[in-house]
Symmetry: D2
Subunit: 343 residues, 4 copies
């Protein structure tokens, strides 16, 4: 079985493991106060070209719940797409910290500035607005859970609404590398640092064993953030583990390199499906692709390849997801393409 | 600088790193459903000699908050020693899940069955008990934060009170290995599985990069535990990382071996301090030792060794903490002993 | 200005005020342990013809958040109609206790058994169900926020699904009196006690100054409920205030009598709108009615009557809400009817 | 049985009931937007001689949890005396909103500025302070749960520490009237508004049926407070009930008058106990007095009078509590004094 069912099937890029071995006997202070963590933060700060704070936590749900619970007062909610990870796939982690996720209907995983503006204006225009959670943050994913990307222009429009309506803008970048590396992308880390109040750079799905780098650009959100990380169980005693991994990923552009590989692989698969007239469920230019397969096509592929069933479209057809990643092997993709061509 | 300031100064036992390297390219399913995790759970289940459930999370605070919030209803509190980790050192993580930590005055890090009984009886005898959090769980650490151990007899007495008063018994075993390996210990994993409703076996401080193994013995506490892990941000996409580490630690007794080394080192230090008439603040038979040093003695040692200042006793004297661990080097201990002998 | 904008515009039925005056100097124990509260509970228990527990709290949001947070474990959510009070109008009160409200699209304020079954089956059929809040309770309103009623048959169908799927059934009865008194109603208090696990009987909108009577039928939900009331700030020192009010409302059927008056008044208004060919937005047989008015009609009525704008339908037409209540004056209704006839 | 066991044994001052009857048929808007509520707020604002915001909620626990959860970020805790109401008698209501109550050992119900300073300095001097809840608020009661009072000088000293250490100062004034009326008191409402960031004026125990007036002096704590009241279940549909009661209490000084009566009655009892050489457990100059009685004395009084057992001192003696209130009858006090004289 060759696995394309997600982008966390293998361990980590060999350089990361190697560095963990090399540094293993260094005696270092705990809780992220070591020199590797400091160096990793510095690399990210430089790329962001802004006076940002950087923190590392072990996973995406932890990043989301820590950021949101740190930023919001009890009566405030976070606007998110109906298909967003915090909306549907974190077992109510945000609600468990007391905050309602305010859903906006997504199209291809995305929401737009106009929808946000309308939602927030409806809130404030309602004479009973005190009886509804106050929208105070927008949380979107780049790339989205449907593999799509926000363009710089779309981001700017959302930022404008956030400024008008006094909202924080947060970006869940669990797969950010695959966004940065996409040929259709025009949003850099620097752009994100300029436009977001807070975002994170995913490591778990992009070459690391685990870990996400939270980047806080808004000064008001920086204070006491480490207290919140600790309280929510996100502070590793051996913070070095996260520091070392992000040091390796960002000291020499490895983060982008491994992401580019994944995109190259995805583009080949995309091309294979298209050339065989297999329609895509979402127009994804990143590492997740969503062909619509017939029952028969699925059966033929599923004997050799693991992939994810995304949505039952009708009796005969399902949208499925194939993921590539930093670890996808060229020969596995070649084999799959050959089989696609014979579907 | 040679570090004795805590037991998480290095990375991981070399066997663990080696196994991570060896297994790195295995394509595995996520979220702890891989075969390494299954194997690790099985090893622990066997040692516990009970029908327990085993789960892995990345750290101690996360283990504590996940277990406690899963077990208690909103009005219930958890009894803990005044010096317990959940009481003083987790930034209110338990309260953040809605539950009050009900402090009982500790002596040498421990509380006893009589104190628990008195606390709970006082609660129920108070005609206004509905105005106070209901005690429903006892959480103690083995070894304690003062390095001391509960004997089997002491555990049994607490268990008896828990049975009488309908309380859950939970054990925070962040340093459990160092307890198991202590010459004064008479409590096995099997005993813990018999006597506790839930406990965890610490990996972070005992040979692993990170990770704790939660063992649930009480059937009523098993249901839906994975939902809670996910909600609290404790479920790693690459659950394999925890599975592999605990597989290595428990397949061939490595967990106990590395713990025994730490205890051996601590015993040597203990002996050195004692033979130089340096009093101990706590009677610890485990890997944390707490000599009482004069300002002058501290100055002389602190130029070469990192250790932790535990408590200011008076103008002249402080209780300090030296930790050994799985990674403590014999030559470092020898050097320190030499310097102790010349204080 | 004659107010029809809601059903809490006046104080309380004069019998309640009179009883408060008469009993004012009685020296009574606090926190709902007085004989009036005991008597009130007994009246409700008799009407329910079941072995229920009864508790009083001051308002609807408090009732909802206390019940739901008492019943659910942290990872569990409550299914509710998209138009339900807990879904849209309580400032995220349920989320603030940690639980997600799981919305189902409502029609005329109602959801049906089939929708609930489908939602819950989708949850359990999803292989990643542990990543989503677990549906554990259904909360519907009788009458709904749209003034509509669930029939006994509809309730029974939902109860059947709840039994199949292991869900609690809760009913928000903030306006229950107006449901019981409706000519279209076939659901009694006894039926509710048979079919629900927990529900509440609204006093605030039905003759009382304030107060709701929570009725717990499911034995598993009874334990320690008073602790939760106290913790959430719902336990009045002078619990007598709630006890006395419900004693007056239930000792001689006053609750139903005043509700019948409101329904009589609403039926007259309904008839007036209909006979003038004014369409209704919801088919409400209770005390809230929702005519669709043109801008011109609104202007003419709004100079003399307060009513609530419910929804902007188009440039020209809005759905509005007129409420009657226990306190609606016959002459006010007559005046309004006259003006409707001249629209 | 004549009740001295608490200060909420009767209903309300007759003027309040009378006003509720007189205003009963007024048709008013809901949720505290009526003219009575506006008037009541204005009376209190005038007495405070500051630009304060005033809000009404139904009880003390609700006031405390609403204020504290509105003011603090998740990692912050509230310093309170070990005997404070939020510390011991609200079923963990504060913890249920996520915040730890940070206990300071009380003497006669009070803590002092030096203790607060030491606590906060210890926090910030600890290199691991991020691992402990951050002290951000001080919550004390005036009068305290032991009947004692803070002097203006003591308040000023605590205020100074709060300024130095960036803490909010909150006062629980559940029995504030009895403090204001005490002969030993030198703290006015104006002083409280100058020195506190937020406090509340208790109505439940001082003449009202129920209700507390929250006074917010710190501008930073004013924003969106009504959202939080609604979310926590504290916003009455008929907000008028609270408005009318506080209007009556504050339009003509009734609040102080009824409090003075209670103090007069308490002073007579105090004098009676003292003249019979019965020692007091706390030096209370307010409406709660705490004589130390022998078993024999208790038996003789308990046949005719209800009082509260406060603490078991030894085999023979208990500290008990007698409360007077706005409703205490002169003849009841005379009878009790007679019996005290014959103990």
């Amino acid at each position: 079985m060759i696995r394309f069912d997600n982008d966390y099937t293998e361990g980590a890029h060999r350089s990361i493991l190697q560095r963990l071995v090399e540094t293993n006997e260094e005696q270092l202070p705990g809780y992220g106060t070591d020199h590797h963590t400091t160096a990793a933060k510095e690399y990210i700060r430089k790329l962001s070209e802004n006076d940002v704070d950087v923190h590392f936590v072990s996973g995406g749900t932890q990043a989301n719940l820590t950021i949101i619970s740190s930023a919001l007062r009890p009566h405030q909610g976070v606007i998110a797409p109906s298909t967003g990870h915090i909306t549907v796939h974190e077992t109510g982690a945000i609600e468990a910290t007391g905050h309602k996720v305010l859903e906006i209907e997504a199209e291809n995983g995305k929401i737009n500035a106009g929808q946000v503006r309308e939602y927030v204006e409806n809130h404030w225009n309602d004479p009973t607005h005190e009886h509804m959670p106050q929208p105070k943050m927008v949380c979107i994913s780049q790339p989205t859970e449907s593999g799509t990307l926000y363009s710089k222009k779309e981001f700017e429009a959302i930022r404008t609404v956030c400024d008008e309506k006094n909202l924080y803008l947060m970006v869940d970048g669990a797969r950010l590398g695959y966004g940065l590396a996409s040929k259709e992308n025009d949003v850099t880390l620097r752009d994100l640092s300029n436009m977001c109040d807070v975002y994170y750079i995913g490591g778990t799905k992009v070459g690391a064993l685990f870990g996400e780098a939270i980047v806080i650009a808004h000064d008001g959100l920086k204070e006491d953030f480490r207290y919140i990380i600790k309280q929510k169980g996100g502070m590793l005693a051996k913070g070095r583990l996260l520091g070392i991994q992000f040091e390796v990923l960002f000291e020499n552009n490895l983060y982008v390199e491994v992401s580019e590989h994944a995109i190259e692989m995805a583009d080949l698969l995309n091309e294979a499906f298209r050339s065989n007239d297999i329609e895509m469920y979402f127009p994804s230019p990143t590492n997740q692709i969503f062909p619509i397969l017939t029952k028969n096509q699925m059966d033929r592929l599923s004997s050799k390849y693991a992939f994810h069933i995304w949505e039952h479209l009708d009796e005969e057809r399902k949208a499925v997801r194939f993921c590539t990643s930093w670890s996808t092997k060229t020969e596995d993709v070649a084999a799959l393409i050959k089989d696609i061509n014979h579907l």
